[in-house]
Subunit: 211 residues, 4 copies
Amino acid sequence: MVNQKTVARRERRIAARKEQILDAAAQVFAEKGFHRATTKEIAAVADVSEGTIYNYFGSKNDLLIGMMTRVGDSQVPPEIFEQEGLDDAREFYTTLIQRRHTFVRQNKSILQAVLSEILTNQEMRERYNEQIVEPFLSMFEQYLSVQVEQGRIRQVDAELTTRYLFALNLGLLGMLILGDPLLQSKWESDELTESLTEFVFDGLGTRETGE
Amino acid sequence: MVNQKTVARRERRIAARKEQILDAAAQVFAEKGFHRATTKEIAAVADVSEGTIYNYFGSKNDLLIGMMTRVGDSQVPPEIFEQEGLDDAREFYTTLIQRRHTFVRQNKSILQAVLSEILTNQEMRERYNEQIVEPFLSMFEQYLSVQVEQGRIRQVDAELTTRYLFALNLGLLGMLILGDPLLQSKWESDELTESLTEFVFDGLGTRETGE
Amino acid sequence: MVNQKTVARRERRIAARKEQILDAAAQVFAEKGFHRATTKEIAAVADVSEGTIYNYFGSKNDLLIGMMTRVGDSQVPPEIFEQEGLDDAREFYTTLIQRRHTFVRQNKSILQAVLSEILTNQEMRERYNEQIVEPFLSMFEQYLSVQVEQGRIRQVDAELTTRYLFALNLGLLGMLILGDPLLQSKWESDELTESLTEFVFDGLGTRETGE
Amino acid sequence: MVNQKTVARRERRIAARKEQILDAAAQVFAEKGFHRATTKEIAAVADVSEGTIYNYFGSKNDLLIGMMTRVGDSQVPPEIFEQEGLDDAREFYTTLIQRRHTFVRQNKSILQAVLSEILTNQEMRERYNEQIVEPFLSMFEQYLSVQVEQGRIRQVDAELTTRYLFALNLGLLGMLILGDPLLQSKWESDELTESLTEFVFDGLGTRETGE
DNA sequence: AATGAATGAGGATTCATTCAT
DNA sequence: AATGAATGAATCCTCATTCAT
């Protein structure tokens, strides 16, 4: 009994420490990038000694992996695709990007750090694809196919369209990181959703031109 | 006279050396990323000594800046926005992304290296914004405003739409780097243009829903 | 009364713990050598926590000293030199190296670790000399002198000869550690004694050449 | 032509630097042992920067390997076993150990460092066996067999005897390192040769007992 | 102008030791 | 008395940069 409690407490302490360190790492990585970040500084920000980091993570690289796992775990959950009452594709998309933006708002630093490393690190890239991109793409693809079949959206290529939508979001994240002031302000006050939905569903063409 | 010629020749030689070194740097940066690339390896690839690099560039960082300048210089030229006969916005967009894709095809590795660094390097980010992003955005914004005024495209917010289109392209580059196989194959054989134009101009909504 | 018993019990417990830890240390030192052995691993093998080690030994170095003391204590006991009936020097030598080989067989790993450290650690070297080498040398020297006086062995320089015999044994230990397969097999099956005695007493020379 | 000279000079410079660094390493290793020796100190003794060490050796471990190779190269050369006129085994042995002692005198530090590490480092042990021990043993064995056949020495087991002689020398080296004052003084003034030869050839036994 | 050896600051990682529980 | 998490000094190694030739 007591043992069980002790073990549980211990596990919670370990998890908390890991979080504490990952938070610090995320902050420093985002600020300086993975390579310019030093374990010394991460330790300082996490308010632990350098040695302690290595009691919880095998290497500096493992911090990055830990962060990616975290990002993966807090992504859009699969259930959302299976909810009832999301017949209206517009509404669904709105919900989706709202969630997504909330998520990005909460994890911008981490995403920034992770993305940067992903761009030049083969191994990270593969992890990211497997854990985050592919699961999402295949689920969304599936959803789109159904919508197309049911005539709720235009007859589009579900595979490609999925990728365009993903790209749009990825690109927006990129521009936020780049620091575009307009996007930044709209995004922080959550004013992008409507305009974005319109862009995606109505396109640029005038109605007449529409084919 | 003679002096002028000599000076000119000298300048050409210097420029050539710089190119030679930047080419090598681009190759190595793309392969390993900025931080994992060593001056030693760049020198080896450029077939010069490490010391020589420093005769032409002040630092390793300057190589990155040099590359970004290069990328900026070979971007879509401003003239394209001023050409006559590009009244048809669809056609114009098609042309634009075709050029863009050709450019990306030729510079993917460099873009990869530069982007990665941009994400976590304040200074690089500012340079990139000033030299590349902002000029393009303002020109495109201008173009879109005119198109909207003339009723050639829907009544959209030109500023935001410009950013969405930029984001879409940036995101596609991101997904290419991530290695999405579908995009990769379509992109290499230049099959994305039409489908992308359709996505952008017609949106996902069925025509009736279009409001 | 009770107090005395308690104290005695306590001392026995402490001694037992020390043994337990030294055993573990011996095992790990032998496997990895002193420097590559970590207190963490020693603790794991001893099935105690790292902290506990430091309740019984002041430092990692003290473990080594403890081991050497142990080795010293189990060396050839001085009494052997005083036993009656060991008039025959050959027989005596045979007995001696048999004991010695038995001892080495039981402590090879420890000796390996201790010797390695002795070679490059001044302090250890001094301890080893004082505690082990010198006592043995002086006793053996004494013994040899008597044998020479009594005409039981040739007129040799007792001091030097003692050192040659010590060296021979030390060197054999060295070769065993080095892993010479021939010595190893003969040594394990205790077949070296006779041949060694012959080498030491008869030399290589043919009898006629003997002078 | 010039090129050849330049290359040769370069190679000489490199070899010299390597020597310079190995000398320093030998000194520090011998003093403190491999593990306690720091690259910082080696650099200081060699009067170069730490970085320079790594221009010539891949790792601290490589310094050790480099030292062992050096030791191997300066060992007793195989030719000695093939010289004419060495019929007299005593004389031959005398020559051999004189050479050996000279060698040890010149390389004591290195041997000390190498031996210590050999005792606890599997890889080093294997290298040492292959490069130094085995070649010597097999050559000496061969020599002894012939001597035995020709009746120049007693009918001894050549294999074992070779090992005894090797052990004797190894052990003497060990005792020198341990710091035995008697051996030290005799060895430095080269007074051991005769006494050692006598020990090896005549044994301890009185002539009558010689069976 | 080119070279490449030398430099040394800097950084990730290890591990003996401590100490609060 | 035992624990084991926290510590941080110490160390090997890398690599951008310099500079004598």
